[in-house]
């Protein structure tokens, strides 16, 4: 092997090694970026979840408020919570159902009760056309 050939061989092996190192670095950076984005996503979800837990716990006493608009606000808040977190649908429906067991009125159905009925009692399929 001549000196030139030896030099070319060395250069080629060097290029191959550099390519492997570059690939390894690229993979490592991709994995690190994925981990970081997952951690950010989890953190964001956790923050939203904590915020929702706060909203939920604030809505419960608000349902007992004397003022209709406060009660309605609580009901709408609970509705929105379920939109964002469907896994909270059962506790929300149970909470609103329990509320219906705690109210009493004479003849005219209160607006908040009407709203809860619309939220928790679905229409039959034949009524929705689905």
């Amino acid at each position: 092997m001549t000196a030139v050939e030896f030099s070319e061989l060395g250069r080629n092996w060097g290029l191959v090694a550099a390519a492997f190192v570059g690939l390894a670095v690229a993979i490592w950076r991709a994995v690190a970026a994925d981990r970081q984005s997952r951690a950010q996503r989890d953190g964001l979800y956790q923050t939203r979840r904590e915020h929702v837990a706060t909203l939920f716990s604030q809505a419960v006493p608000a349902l007992e408020d004397d003022k209709l608009h406060v009660r309605l606000g609580a009901i709408f808040t609970l509705r929105e919570i379920v939109e964002a977190f469907p896994d909270l649908s059962r506790p929300t429906v149970d909470l609103l159902s329990a509320y219906l067991a705690s109210v009493e009125y004479d003849d005219e159905i209160p607006r908040d009760v009407e709203e809860i009925i619309a939220i928790i009692i679905p229409k039959a399929n034949s009524e929705t056309g689905s």
């Binding site: 705690s102 939220i119 009692i121």
Partner: protein, 95 residues
């Protein structure tokens, strides 16, 4: 007047628990009460036309003055456990 969005359907698929619910004069026309537990619920004067009562539990439910015209899947057994009187309007197949 209501929020006019579809009702929340719990993801666990379990029926409504409306024991002792006070629903006097509520409008439940076309409602799906399939499997709902309405034990001792006050349904006095409700309008539940075309509502679906399949497997609903009506033990002690007060249906005085209720309009059940066209209600679906209501049985004699369910009604025998509820509180009804001559002012309760029953679906044709139960009259």
């Amino acid at each position: 007047m209501s929020y006019q969005r579809s009702a929340i359907v719990p993801t666990d698929g379990k029926p409504l628990q409306l024991q002792r619910a006070f629903l006097k004069h509520a409008v439940l026309d076309g409602a799906s009460l399939v499997g709902a537990d309405l034990t001792k619920a006050n349904l006095t004067g409700v309008s539940a036309r075309r509502a679906d009562f399949k497997a609903a539990i009506l033990n002690g439910a007060i249906l005085i003055g209720a309009d059940l015209t066209g209600a679906k899947n209501l049985t004699y057994l369910q009604l025998s456990q509820a509180v009804v009187d001559e002012t309760t309007i029953l679906p044709d197949y139960l009259q």
